[in-house]
Symmetry: C2
Subunit: 342 residues, 2 copies
């Protein structure tokens, strides 16, 4: 209200040009490749830009330049600290290169993810960050057809050749499982996110299976319960495990949130952790260290992954076909929730 500057209409390139006494082309050049124009004119134009409070119209720019400087990301949910953290770093790095982030979330639903991806492409995302490999071949076909560089994050699988940056979920969990077995645990429980649509969870569960097989235990020694994300769900799943196999001495969860739920359920059931039952997680979010007892888990460099994902995508944008496959190391954080078997 206080300082209405002339017309109430939004200034356009033409307005700036008129005010500076040059053509629209010159204004455009001032803004996009300043050294193509002589300092004198440039100053005049920039002054006009400032006076008018001009800001380019994104749609027009996208239309004419055929690129939007936008990178899209489809994540399962922002409420998962793991993604929030990685995405924050991702966004910061993109910002450093003048790109904007467009986020959508799929609620762990493949159909929804499919739609979101198409929506982001329609909105002109120059590149895309996707979580995990699980999606329909049609979508991959669509993406290649539209020539949108795509990077898979949070997962790394040796047998996939799509550009990716992530960690080896299977191996990370296997390492932890080895430690668990070494503590004398023989009857294991596993609480997992739904494995059909979540290759991270699937890999982690497989990691446990691998180790059990290599150690000569059969599959029956592992009781698997699948449940959606959430502390309460972890709680219920833990009860389910203990009800079905009361002799269980260690419950390995595919993420920290489920593990926290398990910890809570154990406490409520009067079981001591780790004396009566051990519990492990995955991700090493803040809560893991704060839990009582503190949670043994697999540490994952989420932030670094986000940052590097951004650099890589920018690189892919500049020179198509340069997508790499990067495996980030995970490491075990041994804390109090894992003890020796009874």
């Amino acid at each position: 209200m206080e300082q209405v500057t002339s017309e109430s209409t939004v200034p356009t390139l033409a307005d700036v040009a008129a005010r500076a006494g040059v053509s629209t082309a010159t204004v455009s050049r001032c803004l996009n490749s300043p050294d193509q124009v002589v300092p004198d004119t440039r100053d005049r134009v920039l002054k006009a830009v400032r006076d008018l409070g001009y800001a380019p119209n994104f749609g027009a720019q996208a239309l004419a330049a055929k690129q939007t400087n936008t990178v899209g990301a489809v994540i399962p949910t922002m409420e998962n600290a793991v993604f929030a953290r990685g995405l924050q770093a991702f966004q910061e790095e993109l910002g450093r290169h003048g790109k904007t982030l467009l986020v959508a979330s799929s609620a762990y639903n493949q159909t929804l993810e499919d739609e979101q991806v198409r929506a982001l492409v329609a909105r002109g995302a120059d590149a895309l960050l996707l979580i995990g490999y699980d999606r329909s071949p049609d979508l991959y076909a669509f993406l290649t057809k539209r020539q949108v560089p795509t990077l898979v994050a949070w997962s790394f699988a040796a047998d996939q050749d799509h550009p990716a940056i992530g960690f080896n979920n299977q191996r990370g969990m296997a390492e932890l499982a080895r430690l668990v077995l070494a503590r004398g645990h023989r009857q294991l429980g596993c609480i997992s996110a739904p494995t059909i649509t979540n290759d991270r969870a699937r890999g982690r569960v497989q990691g446990i299976r691998d180790v059990m097989a290599e150690s000569g235990y059969d599959r029956d020694a592992l009781l698997l319960v699948e449940t959606p994300y959430g502390i309460e769900n972890g709680e219920a799943a833990f009860r389910q495990v203990m009800a079905a196999a009361p002799e269980t001495t260690a419950v390995m969860c595919v993420n920290d949130v489920l593990a926290i739920g398990a910890l809570r359920a154990a406490k409520e059931m009067g079981l001591r952790v780790p004396e009566d039952v051990s519990v492990t997680g995955f991700d090493d979010i803040e809560i893991a260290m704060l839990a009582e007892p503190s949670l043994t888990t697999v540490h994952v460099p989420h932030r670094e992954m986000g940052r590097r994902a951004a650099s890589m995508l920018i690189q892919m944008l500049q020179t198509p076909g340069t997508g790499q496959r990067i495996e980030l190391p995970t490491d075990i954080r041994l804390r109090r929730s894992l003890g020796a078997a009874k």
Copy 2:
């Protein structure tokens, strides 16, 4: 690679029109107001759309229609669970109405926020969600000039008439402070986020001051330490408080994360909570219930706020000038970290 459909070029409206044997206008109508076109043609067109894998070009659409169906949000950081949670709900509700969310984060930096807002507007955000009231008058002027409906969230102040949805930080904290005083605490510490740029923190601190004043204690009985967001920072701040005023019996923190840090520092210093010192938080994020001891805090309906913020913004988009001011209730969650003064 597998199913290259004709040209490798992206199909346009004209391609669809040609294939369906109609004009581009008809295709556009089929997509945007289907009942203006006879079922027969419509089917033909939609088939062509499917065959070609057509998706509208966002830039062109934005340019021609002068609206983008995009809502922007600038939040301090996604890493703060509070915002992640609210934003997730916000996004879901927007999605239900065919709008897309564009997020940017400001890292609690006002200049950066300013830039991000302008960037979002330039990118055609039809409306904006902003956190708190604190920003330069210039920015507000810019926003009114561009006629972008803007909603302030996470804050509610009686003396501001900008459309807003939030809770009364001052009142919520005051209630809690009353409880603390009632427990016999007379020497208080307060750990806050920087109050200059954060009206939520400022309001919360003020809430404590109000209560102390109304109870007849003078300001010196409250030791304030300001520090950025983060568990470690909360830890350091707690040490600082106890070093400066060892007789402190209760430390009130303006958010749960800082409180968790305080809890940890207390434990390290060999102080028992709540026997030796009480600690309180604000927000009631998951961690509050899980902490040891569990954290007394002020519960805030973040998700509901996010959802309602979306509805309100959509409403403002439809009928400009309908922005309201909504105050959501907060309530105290009394848990173990608050006890009687020694």
